[in-house]
Amino acid sequence: MCCMETDMSSMTKTLDFERKLLNLSDTCCGLGNDLNIKSKYNIKTKYNIFTDITSFNPEAPLDRKTAAAYAHSFLLNAIGEEDEAAIDPAFKLADIYECKVCSMHIAQVYCKGIMEAKECKDNESRLYFDLAAYVDETEQDLIIRRMLDPHERVRHGDMRGPAGMEPNGREPNSYEHAGNGSRIVRHINISTLKNLDALFVDIRSRSEYELGTVYEGINIPMDELIRNPYCLPCDIEANVVVWSNDASRSEIVSKCLADAGYISVFILDELDATDSMKKY
């Protein structure tokens, strides 16, 4: 959904990052002799620090999800830094559930400000972690600096929130936050809709729809949408435009979609539909 191209030239092995961290624990900052861990297994140090992540392939190029796993494990087991209890900002990352065994690692390094999120190419208001992107030496060093020195970390207040910017730089006619980062933009017109990369949903009944509609899209009757707002054939990050010939119905459905977590819901104004309908 938000893929970036990867620069293959900057790849380094996972093993190299692991070594870097282990060296750090031996030599740097006095951590080596003072590991703040319970010596549970009484075997080589690597298992004590990276006990949760033995299944990553050390020969594979280091990617962001693996770096997050190593960084998080090092924080916990070598430095002894507790996890963040509140990880709500991480719930907003579009790809946070792409690797379920990585989600917690990513959430922790992200919320601690050690690794940053990226903006989606096609939707600037969405953030994602970019799990599979490779981590070059410069980024590795930055991660390590931030792990060791909290002052180097990005404070979350400084990070871009997921909402606020209008698509295509347009001023909204009105919008609100539904309390979960979602917003409803009302009173858009057909020309705005044409400039919007959006799923158009006609929420009238099937029989009404069969007589014609006002824009190319799909028909899901209001009661069905209210029962199962996730039946839309798009991700919750997508722009969704709701239309019916009854503003109060559009309002109810938009609220329901925003509550369900759809990020950007637009209401197309009531139209004098008879002319437009012939088109589709």
Binding site: T51, T54, D235
Partner: protein, 603 residues
């Protein structure tokens, strides 16, 4: 040696889609087991579980008396094997499990508990270790029985022939047919005229999901396969796959030759129509319908340069009978392959020990609609992706959530499982909405109470997922997980899952309508073996509601429910017992996410 590149031929008709409804198990799978209860390591410790922690959990189960309440299985989830096999065999991760699994099994058995482990039908486990059971089913099954394993949870990551988690997305080619524009049919014996049947004129859709795509000068069918059930968007109820069909009338029984005009793709059905390369061709006769169907073709078609470059297939011989025949173009391999993989494991266990009593917990996350076939090989089947991805570790309880737009929340799991009652039962097995998140961070005690009620009303497996050192006898967590009256609902010998008899969202079929809008109140009813019924009023929404809800005994739709002039009503939380003389039960208000759950018995 199985070919990893392609799934093999179906092992027999009994493994095929057309037999999913026949009610017959495979390889004498034992039935009549109640939902499993126990503790699983994943939510508590993720991949960081260890032998030491597991032993402590087993100790805690006994110390807390949870074993006496039915919590018997102690299950090691992912993260306990070496990353690779050793001489083809599974090996314990020596850092975390230094004494090996047999020793751990002995320890757990010594406590009077049962021992469970974890694997996967693909090449790798979800956390990455390359020790999946694919092509090792028999030797692994033998090994598990040697280790004393009583329960096996089997995942679906890195599956070879589906676009499962961590699998190649292009594996979609195995589970969808190509785009199909037309078929061509002629009698084999005579050099008779070939008849073209275009999709546009003669094709029709059976089941759900098939898209007939029309462009300015083209028309073809696509998205022919089985819905991916891993997400929260689609219902599990009803037919979950689609076929393209053509009806052909012939004068007499004869052999015909059919060709298909097609274009292949490798496109998963994620907001786009699924397009693949695998095609099945079957024929139903008018007389026998699907019961007498015959499969004539079941293979990967040669790839076309793109999804828009159509070509015509090699001829396939089919037999048509006098009268109307239905030619079915379909691909049920998503379900069939997965069933076959789980069946191979079951077969392995039975070969190793025909009397084995192992519980097989299918964990393919609802992807292939296991409610249709899971009963043939398993004791339960997960219905969605994980209930949480915020698993804990030693020292951090992890996070559970009440709501999430995707699958990781209590309500996402409940919303789906609650409409799946028809698939569950003693002669089938159980819908599995995943291990419980009670005791994790991120949810209140009220949410945990309702979570427990939901799972017990729905006959779900009750697998605790918390660090049991966080529970003390009679603390708030204990009072939830050790509520004997609720456990009695889950373990009731009638084995009938609750139905939703009413919901505050407009719905003609509250028992079967898939509802994901959480701003609502549900009322569930469940029949019990002693002729009583449990009724639960559940506020799904995260706000207090005071509309008042009422049902009467007439709303409880079970024949086994005994009616009377008076009812004894037990509140399963407060244990208050009252006598009801009018058969009407009313709740005035419910706090956010709260429930009121009663047992109603005629006097």
């Amino acid at each position: 040696m199985n070919d990893i590149r392609f799934p093999g031929a179906l092992r027999g008709r009994e493994f095929s889609f057309d037999e999913f409804d026949n009610g017959k198990v495979l390889f004498n799978k034992k039935k009549n087991r109640l939902p499993a209860m126990g503790w699983n390591s994943w939510n508590a410790f993720g991949s960081g579980n260890t032998e030491e922690l597991t032993k402590i959990m087993a100790d805690r189960i006994v110390e807390l008396g949870l074993d006496k309440l039915g919590y018997r299985y102690v299950v090691l989830d992912d993260g306990c094997y070496k990353p690779e096999r050793e001489n083809g065999m599974l090996a314990n991760e020596p850092g975390k499990f230094p004494s090996g699994f047999r020793a751990l099994a002995d320890y757990i058995h010594g406590k009077g508990l049962k021992f469970g482990m974890y694997n996967d039908i693909g090449t790798n486990l979800c956390a990455g270790a390359a020790v999946g059971t694919f092509d090792h089913e028999k030797s692994d099954a033998r090994e598990y029985l040697n280790w004393g394993v009583d329960f096996i949870k089997v995942d679906n990551c890195y599956y070879m022939w589906d676009n499962a988690t961590f699998s190649d997305p292009e594996n979609a080619r195995f589970v969808y047919t190509p785009r199909i524009r037309a078929i061509y049919i002629r009698k084999k014996s005579a050099d008779g005229e070939e008849k073209k049947l275009p999709v546009a004129d003669d094709g029709y859709v059976s089941g759900e999901g098939v898209a007939i795509t029309k462009t300015e000068n083209d028309c073809f069918a696509e998205n022919i396969g089985t819905f991916d059930g891993t997400n929260t968007g689609t219902t599990p109820v009803g037919i979950r796959s689609g076929e393209l069909r053509f009806d052909v009338n012939v004068d007499e029984d004869d052999v015909y030759v059919v060709k298909v005009e097609y274009a292949t793709g490798r496109q998963p059905a994620a907001n786009k129509p699924g397009v693949g390369g695998w095609l099945q061709i079957a024929v139903n006769s008018e007389e026998n319908g699907t019961a007498g169907s015959k499969l004539y073709f079941d293979e990967m078609l040669p790839e076309t340069p793109s999804m828009d470059d159509f070509t015509i297939s090699e001829p396939v011989e089919i037999c048509l009978s006098k009268g109307k025949n239905t030619i079915r173009l379909m691909n049920h391999r998503r379900q069939e392959n997965t069933l076959n993989s789980y069946a191979a494991l079951l077969e392995g266990f039975n070969e190793a020990d025909p009397d084995n009593d192992i519980v097989l917990s299918i964990c393919e996350w609802g992807k292939t609609q296991p409610q249709n076939w899971g009963y043939k090989t398993g004791d339960s089947w997960r219905i969605l992706n994980d209930i949480t991805f915020w698993v804990g570790r030693d020292g951090n309880p992890g996070i559970g959530r009440w709501f999430d737009p995707g699958t990781p929340s209590i309500t996402s799991q409940y919303n789906k499982a609650v409409v799946m009652y028809e698939f569950a039962g003693l002669d089938k097995g159980w819908n599995d909405p995943d291990m419980m998140v009670i005791g994790m961070n991120g949810i209140t005690d009220v949410m945990c109470r309702t979570h427990m009620v939901m799972w017990c009303m729905m006959n779900s497996p009750l697998m605790l997922g918390l660090d049991l050192r966080r529970v003390q006898k009679d603390d708030w967590i204990y009072r939830i997980i050790a509520n004997e009256d609720l456990i009695a609902l889950d373990q009731d010998v009638l084995g009938i899952q609750a139905r939703r008899i009413w919901t505050s969202i407009e719905s003609d079929r509250p028992d079967k309508d898939y509802i994901t809008n959480n701003d609502r109140v549900d009322i569930l009813a469940k029949p019990l073996a002693d002729g009583s019924a449990a009724v639960s009023f559940i506020n799904i929404s995260e706000r207090r509601r005071d509309e008042g809800w009422e049902i009467s005994v007439d709303d409880i739709p079970f024949e086994s429910f005994k009616r009377g002039n008076k009812y004894q009503v037990t509140d399963l939380w407060t244990k208050d017992v009252t006598i009801n003389e009018n058969g009407r039960f009313r709740v005035e208000s419910l706090d956010a996410c709260d429930n009121l759950t009663i047992r109603i018995k005629a006097l």
